[in-house]
Each structure stands twice: as C-alpha cells, then as structure tokens.
Amino acid sequence: MPHLGSDALALHAVGEPATPAERRHLAECDRCARELAVLRSTAASARAGVGEALVPAPDAVWERISAELGLAPDVRPGPAGAASAGPQDGTRPARPGGGASAGRSRGRWLLAVAAGLVVGAVGGGAVVAAGQRPTETVVAEARLDPLPGWTASGDAWLEEGADGTRTLVVRVSRTEEDGFRAVWLLDQDATRLVSLGALDGDEGRFAVPPGLDLDEFPVVDVSAEPFDGDPAHSGDSIVRGALDRPA
C-alpha cells in the first residue's frame, strides 16, 4: 500500500486506531513509522502541557528594558494577548485586543505611518545604480506586503528613462480573486488615489503620468476589483507598499 497520508498519520498520533492494512504498512515503512513517532511525541508533549497557562511579565519589566536600552518613550508594546499569526498557515493576523484600546493604538500608529512616509517618500535626487542599466534607472522600490486576509506578496520599482519618462513595474504573486487586479498609487493616508490600470498576470508595466508627484502619491496598491462597472477602488487591497529610494 502507498505511504500513509498526513491526515491518517495525525489521527493515529492522537490515538485513533490504524486499519490492518495501515498497520502492516507501518511495520514495513521506516519513513511512515518515523513520521508517526515524531507526531506521537508531539502529541505527548501537548498532553503534558494541559492545564498550564502563560504568566505575563509584569509591566515593570518593559520599563526596565526601555531604561536600560534608552528606547524612545513612544516605543511601547501594544496590549498583550493578541496572537501573532505566522505566515506558515496563511491565517490572517489577529487584531490586537479589540475594543477601544486597540482603536487608540491604531490611531497613534497611523500618525506614525504618516510621519514615516513624509520622511521616507521618494525624493527628487534619484540614486542611480551605477553601470547597472544604461537607459533606465531604478529610482524607487517598494516591497508589497499583503493586507489582512491575503497571502500574496510582491514588489514594485520605478524606472526612469533618459528622457524622463517614468514606468512603474509591479509584480505580485498569484491570488484567487473574482474579477481582476488593479494597480493604484495612493497618498500616505490612503484617502486619495490615482489609477494606473489593470494588472494582467503576475507582472505589469505602467506609465506614470508626467507631472504626477510621487511625493504626494508614494504608496503602490494592488486591489481586487469585481467586474461591476464601477471604476472606483473596491476597498479590497491585496498588497501595498511605499516606494522608497533604493538603499
């Protein structure tokens, strides 16, 4: 018989009986037997952890760390208790705490975001990658990170030709959306936006209109758009990232 599936191995590891055929296979197959042994020991560790809970560190510990390292006073851990979500299982990150305090902390963060973008926005003095590209120069780049609910990622860069024409190149990994994907440039508050067009496939090149000030619209956004005839942004952004000068 073929190797045991991972569902079957997991069920045996938590104590469900194997069929006779599975038992025969396990007796002969080192690979499946090893995997089962690892999962069994995982399950045993899990049983040993029952009834315990984590004990949060007192607030004073952070104060001591902050004092010892001389951190800025606004650098503080948010409310504890929100689970972190790793990218490993594609779940969306949990929101911190919920309720009023989370809203307040988000507000503070948006202020910090706005301030950071003003400092980090694309400046006039382009950094040229020496000798790399004779006719087009990458003058800004962005990492595109997924918004909650999406697992895609990507990047974007702005090329400037010798004649001053600007082209935004956007690459985003595949997603399953109903409709199509559209590329936008947003301002730092994500309240005003310029449409650059539909993204066909994983990569697209978009002419940036001459005269468009990228200091004003530094954020690259790729959204999922339904075929509903409404030209406005759907509000459902897949990835987003701010253009920044190359390091």
């Binding site: 995982t42 399950a43 990569e203």
Partner: protein, 218 residues
C-alpha cells in the same frame, strides 16, 4: 579616443534589482506592528527598528517569562531573565539573521542560555564548590529543555484559534475520535481531520524550533 561601447539594450523585464536590503521602515509601518506577520517583524528587528523590539516583547514576553519562571521558580529571577533576554537580543541583533530562522526560536535559545546561566550562578552562590556547580549544570540542562517544550506547547495552544483549540482539546483530552468530534461540533469530517493534522504539524514545527533554538548564544 575610441567611441564609447554601446551597451546592450536591457531586457524589457529586468530581473528584480538585487540591491535591496532590509525592509524599509516605511513599508513595515504601513500597518501597526500587531498586524505584522512574524517574518515582517523579524526583518524590522534585524533592521534595528525599536518598534520591532516592542512588538517582539508584546508577542513573546509572556512565553519567555513563563519559561524562566517554571525553570527558576522565583518571580524576581524570572523578571531579571526576561529583561536580560530582550536586552541581549536587542544588543546582539547583528547576530540574528531573519533568513536563517524564526525570531521566536532565536529568543527561545537566548532564554534557555540565560536560564542555564542563572541556575549555575545560583548553585555557585549557594556553595562555593566548583564541582557542585558543574554537576548542577549538567543536571539542570535537560530539565530546562523539557520545561521549554512544555511551555512552548502551552503557548502554541493558546495561540490556536477556534475551532482548532476545541478540536484538539477533544482529541487530546477528551479522547474522542474525529468522527465523534465532527458530530459533536457539527463540522464536516474533512475539516476536523485537517484541523487535527495542521495543529499537530504546527506544534511539531514549534517544538523543532525550540530544539534548534538551543544552539545560538548572544
């Protein structure tokens, strides 16, 4: 004077520029740190963003503190170790490489070393006997390892959402089969099976991370 050599036309779709370094601050901060995934947090930490230290503390201080508390048995010592772990992690962040492993695993390794050091210091304090200290250290290390595993499991179970947590609880502690769990929770069989598998694999990966995390030292 020779004519300048004409460079070949670059391909229309050039490869991704390779000069990029750490995650730019601005990108990381488009969303508040609690919404960063672990990878984004690790890159911001590596890049020296103090907000990443605060966020790492928010996510993992309870885990570090509990590990120290369960091994050292003293609230004051556990607080000292927690402080020491985050301070050393920050000062030693140049020794951390986001592309080589999880930040949490690295913190776990630092915690285990800090705990082991605290234990051997304590045994030296108690008796100024060199041999005793050595023996104590040898005896304590496996204990730290097994406590680390237990605390890791507790942490991981706390982070599981629903219905995974209930499904695992019924499978582990209620000794129900997946059939019975599916009926009781009114969920499709396949869903229950895949939750058991995914939760168990997550736990396995976390435990491997803890074992691997025993290596680094700041």
């Amino acid at each position: 004077m020779t004519a300048p050599q004409i460079a070949a036309q670059p391909p229309r779709l050039p490869p991704r520029p390779t000069r990029r370094t750490a995650l730019p601050r601005t990108v990381a901060h488009l969303r508040p740190p609690p919404e960063w995934d672990d990878e984004a947090l690790a890159r911001a930490f590596e890049a020296g963003d103090e907000h990443a230290l605060a966020e790492a503390y928010r996510r993992w201080a309870a885990y570090v503190h509990t590990l120290a508390l369960r091994t050292l048995g003293s609230a004051a010592d556990a607080e000292d170790v927690t402080q020491q772990v985050f301070v050393s992690a920050w000062r030693g962040r140049s020794g951390y490489r986001a592309d080589r492993g999880a930040l949490r695993g690295w913190l776990t390794g630092i915690t285990r070393h800090a705990v082991t050091d605290a234990l051997s210091r304590r045994s030296r304090d108690v008796r100024d006997l060199h041999a005793l200290a050595q023996r104590a250290e040898r005896a304590e290390v496996p204990d730290v390892a097994s406590v680390a595993e237990r605390v890791t499991v507790v942490d991981e179970l706390e982070q599981l959402g629903e219905p995974q947590r209930t499904i695992l609880a019924l499978a582990f502690y209620g000794d129900l089969t997946h059939d019975e769990i599916a009926r009781r929770l009114d969920l499709p069989l396949g869903t229950v099976k895949s939750h058991i598998r995914r939760s168990l694999l997550r736990l396995r990966d976390r435990l491997e991370e803890v074992r691997d995390g025993a290596a680094p030292r700041v």
